[in-house]
């Protein structure tokens, strides 16, 4: 390697500071997918028979399905036989406390800024960490336990709370839902499980941190969150991955269930490795997220900041079944270099007096392609439903694209739906004004973009909002000049 390429490499590394690889021994299954592999994964996880059966049904169904090609994203065909569907850090058989976690692993999380111990106690965030395919550590379990809150890895939930898992798993996103949800159902290796009992207001933010480390691995986690009557929970997830030249697949499923008067706030800062400036490498982020407001006056609020991944394909959605239920979707998606994002939401209004709000901010820079795709469906039964959608795109540079594909279906006459979308370039006058006041062009861009995204950022919990702003700044580097 010449010194100049080294420098470039270093620079690139600086920009994506989570790009390191952890040298840790893993326990993996052979690449490729078959019923045997699924049996093997299930056996490794000592799962009950019903779950294995469910996985196999999902697998058989997946075999009949075709990869979706309708999103406005472009990528080579994925060879599903070359993916390793299970990879776990090798560790001692049983983990009683964090002290027993592989020190290499703890170092990784420190680098990522996720100290699992004392610091988190101070900030009051309970963290579950998913490393490659399995959950390695969950903090604060005891304290949450006193309130009856269950927050643990999915594997543990399957062992310790099989009835709850069996009752809710796949009820919001059935394995027949779509290609990637079917795949996930067949091979999901871990994820987080969270249960908030009746009337409990979860006193701290629950957080999962996802990390893909091993090469050639897909990550297929599954998150299930149940909020019983009149409960409240705020849940955060963050994601990073090492820099690799190959594309890696992340196909997660998240299911949320809100019962009567329950509220779930789900926030994501997605910073998977986006690939390099030439578009090489990066994560394919094909995720199915859906919540059901099953109870009356329940509320689900999705907030996402998507700055990472080579390709993002996800539509966090709400099924508003309970009368008076509320769905919200706040999204910032930024694509720079060769990133592509096709993201949005679905608001399915079934109950009476349901309402939904969609605020989507898309920023395209470099050769990034950013698509908002959304569905608002007002069923005949959803009398007096309301939706407000605002979808704004900002273009920075003349090689990028911003696209808006909303679908609006209204089946009764007592509902009101409003959709507004704008596309504009970053204002030259705004830039000049900021620069006249002494800001550098890059700071000015970052400032204006942050202002553009404000409505979304203010929905994020404090620490995440700060993180999101920084991320946006980093992701925008090199967009001007």
């Amino acid at each position: 390697m010449t010194s100049s390429t080294e420098t470039i490499h270093e620079l690139a590394n600086q920009k994506y500071k989570y790009g390191f690889v952890t040298d840790i021994e893993t326990d993996s299954v052979p690449a490729g997918l078959s019923e045997d592999i699924i049996r093997l994964i299930s056996a490794k996880k000592q799962e009950p028979e019903w779950l294995l059966e469910w996985r196999l049904k999902a697998y058989r169904h997946w075999r009949t399905m075709a990869e979706p090609r309708w999103p406005k994203v472009d990528y080579p065909t994925i060879d599903f036989d070359r993916i390793v569907y299970y990879s776990a850090p090798k560790q001692r058989p049983k983990l009683d406390s964090l002290d027993e976690v592989d020190p290499e692993l703890l170092k990784t999380f420190e680098k990522l800024g996720i100290p699992l111990e004392e610091q988190k106690r101070l900030t009051g965030v309970a963290v579950d960490v998913v490393f490659d395919s399995v959950s390695v550590a969950t903090s604060f379990k005891d304290k949450l336990g006193e309130l009856g809150v269950i927050f643990c890895s999915m594997s543990e939930a399957v062992r310790e709370h099989p009835d709850l898992v069996r009752k809710y798993l796949g009820t919001v996103v059935p394995y027949t839902d779509n290609f990637y949800a079917a795949l996930n159902s067949a091979v999901f290796s871990d994820g987080s499980f969270c249960y908030i009992p009746k009337g409990v207001r979860c006193p701290m933010e629950l957080s999962t941190y996802f990390r893909i480390n091993a090469a050639g691995t897909g990550q297929f986690e599954r998150t299930l969150l149940v909020a019983e009557d009149s409960s409240y929970v705020s849940y955060l997830e963050g994601c990073t991955a090492p820099q690799r030249d190959e594309n890696q697949l992340h196909a997660a499923v998240v299911e949320l269930i809100a019962l009567d008067n329950a509220q779930i706030k789900y926030s994501t800062v997605q910073n998977w490795y986006p690939g390099d400036e030439q578009g090489k490498g990066g994560i394919y982020n094909f995720v199915t997220k859906r919540g059901i407001c099953a109870g009356v006056n329940s509320k689900i609020s999705w907030t996402q900041v998507e700055t990472g991944s080579a390709i993002t394909w996800k539509y966090p959605s709400c099924i508003l079944k309970g009368d008076g239920s509320v769905g919200e979707f706040y999204s910032v998606a930024l694509t720079n270099h060769f990133q592509q994002a096709d993201t949005g939401t679905k608001m399915i209004h079934l109950g009476k007096n349901t309402s939904s709000t969609i605020v989507s901010k898309g920023i395209s820079a470099g050769k990034g392609q950013n698509t908002y795709r959304g569905l608002v469906r007002i069923a005949k039964s959803a009398t007096h439903a309301r939706n407000y959608t605002q979808c704004d795109s900002m273009l920075i540079g003349d090689r990028c694209g911003a696209h808006t594909f909303p679908y609006i279906e209204v089946n009764n006459n007592s509902s009101q739906v409003e959709h507004e979308a704008t596309t504009s370039k970053i204002g030259e006058e705004q830039l000049f004004y900021c620069r006249q006041r002494g800001l550098s062009e890059e700071d000015a861009v970052s400032l204006i973009v942050n202002g553009f995204c404000k409505e979304v950022f203010r929905e994020l919990p404090m620490e995440f909002a700060v993180e999101a702003q920084k991320l946006l700044g980093i992701s925008l580097e090199g967009t001007v000049g």
């Binding site: 900021c434 006041r437 002494g438 800001l439 400032l447 202002g451 404000k454």
Partner: protein, 250 residues
């Protein structure tokens, strides 16, 4: 401080400034007057470095440095402040947040320590009080939904805070009632300390009752065609611009 020689500039291919000469010494207040379309705003924007205005000839020196080579923010760091005729609205960006960001950027560029929130708010409140502004201006997004008068007052607040060496007021008086005009004038006068300079670009003499200029210039067809003291402004007010146009045409 500022030396403009034979400055020529165009917009959209049309020549607006045709050899403008002006020298401003430290501590001086210059009024530039002229009819509509004479090039007043162009001149103000060229000094601040607006890219839509293409400089095709001449030089501008600011404290011995070639101003025309500097980026807009570098000019701000060097101490140039333009109070815009039409301040832009930037939705989602808080006014106070923006003020701090600008102040700290300038302080940093000048090698001064950046102010933390507490220190900044102290400074800001002083200025707000000084200018008799309402607090709620600070809580709102930058210029968004501001009335015309509020926008102009906000410009003056920014000027007071950033303490420029050379302030350029581009038709800051247009559309202001007499109270607002006084606030603007107070802000400018507070800045005058014998070292700071001001260029007041205006169509009317009214503002000059409150900001008394040392020199008055008449800009016509992109050139300064007449210079004098403060009495020239009064003369213009009385006789109108037709007088200049006629005498110039003659």
């Amino acid at each position: 401080m500022l030396k403009v020689s034979n400055l020529q500039a165009r917009v959209d291919g049309k020549m607006i400034l045709n050899g403008l000469d002006l020298e401003v010494k430290a501590g001086e207040v210059h009024a530039i007057m002229g009819p509509n379309g004479s090039g007043k705003s162009t001149f103000a924007n060229v000094l601040a470095g607006h890219e839509a205005f293409e400089v095709t000839g001449g030089t501008v020196e600011f404290e011995g440095k070639n101003l025309l080579e500097m980026e807009p923010e570098e000019r701000a760091w060097a101490g140039i402040f333009l109070a815009f005729q039409y301040p832009v609205e930037i939705p989602g960006v808080g006014n106070t947040y923006f003020l701090r960001m600008a102040l700290n950027a300038i302080r940093k560029a000048r090698g001064q320590e950046e102010l933390d929130s507490v220190a900044f708010m102290k400074v800001l409140r002083e200025k707000v009080k000084l200018l008799k502004l309402r607090d709620d201006l600070l809580k709102r997004p930058l210029n968004e939904g501001f009335s015309g008068g509020e926008k102009k007052r906000n410009e003056i607040l920014q000027m007071a805070l950033l303490e420029p060496k050379l302030a350029i007021l581009d038709e800051t008086d247009s559309g202001l009632d007499i109270d607002a005009l006084k606030i603007v004038a107070d802000g400018v006068n507070a800045l005058r300390d014998g070292t700071r300079s001001v260029i007041v670009v205006t169509h009317y003499q009214r503002l000059l009752d409150y900001i008394v200029p040392d020199h008055t210039h008449v800009l016509y067809k992109g050139k300064i065609v007449k210079s004098g003291g403060k009495e020239l402004a009064l003369e213009l007010e009385e006789k109108g611009y037709g007088w200049i146009q006629e005498s110039h045409a003659a």
